[in-house]
């Protein structure tokens, strides 16, 4: 078996063993030619018989083979010598051609190239001296995650079984050079080669489209490097438990994510805008609220996607009808309609005229587009949700009548990035989901007033001695540090930075939207959102030499009134990124 340790040796062995024969031939031909020149009698200019020494013979043959001679030295040759020189020319040239041909043959050899490739990746991984993510699978999800992580300044290593995808790593404009291994991620050896056991490995992202492979990756990572967190995507709910047992720390199901976000959009549309603002890379609080209807939903297709979505919709007491040609007879009832959804007459029979929304959720992009196109003329007010499976069809989906497009890879990627960037966001969103629309709307208005249309960032602050020296020192002295003191601007203007604390985690307690006068304690975890400048200021405030004094008295900084036009809801430009920002 080839282990990473003896790979280099293995490559050299192959090279040497294949070169054995050409080298023996070369030595043999040279030896015969040299010997011939020393034996064949020559003639000195004075007519005396003369024999070439080994030195002269070796010298002559050396340049004979490579340059077909520079002249007859030291004296002009006799006829027998010329005859031998002719034979030697052919012999040495053929031997060289054979040797060079063999060398190129080996360099082209798939096995040899593979070993070279693996050695190169291994060396590149070893040279990474900072934390990196190991990304397994480089399809839609993987490439998106890689691109955004790279923009965040993170290092990574990519592994994928398909050579074409690995090649795109070089084409994709990533900030750092990313070592990319062509290999099977379900093979532990490939994972180790790609740096699974490296002390710098900060996380394994199992993003192959295959649940079994992802489970195997989680298992391998858990056993070979128990320290490293594993994040895995799953499609089938049945594999969640297996994946968790194998050691995956986070399991991301794009269908669940999408269904939950559809449900959130229906129940608390403002929260969905907040969610997008916090998770999208260039998200702002100014996006329009999604407008998904209650009422009757037609779901086309019976895959995992539609089943997951149906479960979420039924929880909101929304009537759903599944339309699918492959339904078993015993399943057919008022909520399960048998028929091909791409056929307008079937859609009409299924009641599209009374429906409020249709989900084109089959596994085939063409069918989904056909459903969207067939549905539009039948019901002008219908909200059309289409599922897209292949990234390359993005243009077509954008041009289609679908208002909402779900691309698996992007939903999964957004979730992966969220888990990596702000792990506390999940807690916040889980708690926020229990609140009602009025609460969400108020928060959204507060966000809009506080940071308007600037890009929203979210960040965590840990009140720990290592990260918050100033705060912890003040707390040890018995001083009270209020939350708002962290938010004071450094210029002494007593204004607060444009940020909103979203969540305060204190032990088991989780406080949503903590009040700005909340006294801090050591061990608090704080989640904030706001402008990027605010993040830098707050980081500085907790670490700096002293905690700034809060604004005098009880008067809190109040957002200046925004120009009215800024509050007008804006259409999002980038509907492709946000799985739940609407287009059209």
């Amino acid at each position: 078996m080839i282990t990473p340790g003896n790979r280099t040796r293995h490559g050299i062995f192959i090279l040497l063993r294949r070169l054995r024969q050409p080298l023996v031939v070369l030595i043999g031909v040279y030896a015969v030619a040299v010997l011939g020149f020393t034996l064949i009698p020559g003639q000195a200019p004075d007519g005396q018989p003369w024999r070439m020494g080994f030195l002269h013979a070796f010298y002559f043959v050396s340049f004979l083979g490579t340059t077909i001679g520079l002249g007859e030295i030291p004296y002009p040759f006799t006829d027998p010598q010329r005859l031998w020189a002719t034979a030697s020319i052919y012999g040495t040239v053929v031997a060289w051609l054979y040797g060079i041909g063999a060398l190129f043959g080996i360099l082209q050899d798939p096995l040899f190239r593979r070993i070279l490739h693996e050695n190169g990746v291994e060396r590149a991984v070893r040279r990474i001296r900072e934390p990196f993510y190991l990304i397994c699978g480089y399809d839609d999800t993987g490439s998106r995650v890689a691109r955004e992580l790279s923009e965040d300044g993170a290092r990574m290593v990519v592994i994928d079984i398909m050579p074409q995808r690995v090649d795109t790593v070089e084409v994709d404009d990533l900030t750092f050079s990313v070592p990319a291994l062509k290999g099977d991620a379900s093979d532990p050896m490939s994972l180790v080669l790609a740096g699974l056991r490296s002390p710098h490995c900060a996380g394994v992202l199992a993003l192959t489209g295959d649940d079994q492979v992802n489970t195997k990756i989680a298992l391998t990572a858990h056993l070979l490097n128990p320290e490293v967190p594993v994040l895995s995507t799953a499609r089938d709910h049945a594999s969640h438990a297996r994946m968790a047992a194998a050691g995956a720390d986070h399991i991301i199901n794009p269908y669940d994510q999408f269904a939950e976000r559809v449900a959130t959009s229906i129940r608390t549309p403002s929260l969905q805008v907040i969610y997008n603002a916090l998770t999208l890379q260039h998200g702002t609080a100014m996006h329009a609220r999604p407008d998904l209807p209650h009422g009757r939903w037609l779901l086309c297709g019976t895959g995992l996607f539609t089943r997951t979505l149906r479960r979420q919709l039924e929880r909101l007491d929304i009537e759903t009808v599944i339309v699918d040609p492959h339904l078993a007879d015993e399943d057919i009832d008022a909520h399960n309609f048998h028929g091909d959804p791409t056929d307008p007459s079937v859609l009409r029979e299924a009641g599209i005229e009374d429906a409020n929304a249709i989900v084109a959720g089959t596994e085939i992009d063409v069918d989904n587009l056909a459903i969207a196109l067939a549905a539009r003329p039948l019901n002008k007010t219908l909200v059309i949700v289409a599922r897209q499976t292949q990234q390359r069809n993005t243009q077509v989906f954008k041009a289609s009548p679908a208002q909402l497009v779900m691309l698996n890879g992007h939903v999964a990627a957004a979730e992966v990035l969220r888990v990596i960037r702000a792990p506390q966001l999940a807690t916040f969103l889980r708690k926020a989901r229990d609140e009602d629309e009025a609460w969400a709307e108020q928060l959204l208005l507060r966000m809009r007033a506080t940071f308007g249309d600037s890009v929203v960032e979210s960040w965590s602050l840990d009140i720990m001695p290592a990260q918050a020296r100033a705060v912890c020192t003040a707390l040890k002295r018995g001083e009270t540090v209020e939350l708002q003191q962290l938010m004071v601007r450094p210029n002494g203007s007593q204004y607060l930075v444009r940020a909103i604390p979203l969540l305060l985690q204190r032990g088991k307690e989780r406080i949503l939207l903590p009040h700005l006068h909340t006294p801090l304690q050591e061990g608090d975890h704080l989640l904030c959102c706001g402008q990027e400048r605010a993040r830098a200021t707050m980081r500085h405030n907790i670490l700096g030499v002293g905690v700034p004094k809060g604004p005098e008295g009880k008067s809190l900084w109040v957002a200046p009134a925004l120009p009215q036009k800024m509050l007008i809801e804006r259409d999002p430009e980038d509907s492709e990124m946000g799985p739940l920002t609407q287009s059209g």
Binding site: R17, R20, L23, G53, F54, F58
Partner: protein, 126 residues
Amino acid sequence: MSTERVLFAFVIVLALTLNVGFIAGDINDINHHNVYELFAALVVSLIATVMKFGDRSPLGSSMLATSLVADLQLIAAATAWGFYASGGAALTAHQGATVVSLSIGAAVANVVSVVLLIIEMANLRR
């Protein structure tokens, strides 16, 4: 019996015999030592080295090392001879002794090579 093994052993033993054949005789008298024999010993030694390339047996790397030592010594001997004999001059006793003693060193390396070969063969039998 495999042809490859026979050829392998043949070359290694031949390298030793040629080498010993060259050094046999009075070290001070260059007439006892044939230049063609040195040439043959060098060529066979080079071929033996190449044949040990990529041999992954446990003793393979040691055999390659001894073979490289023999090559080095023989190349040194041949270069010395070529240098001393430049201009058609005959070798002095000291110069001849230098060439032969370098070759004796190579012979020792070749003996080690053959011993390793025998050890490997013996291990194969078991």
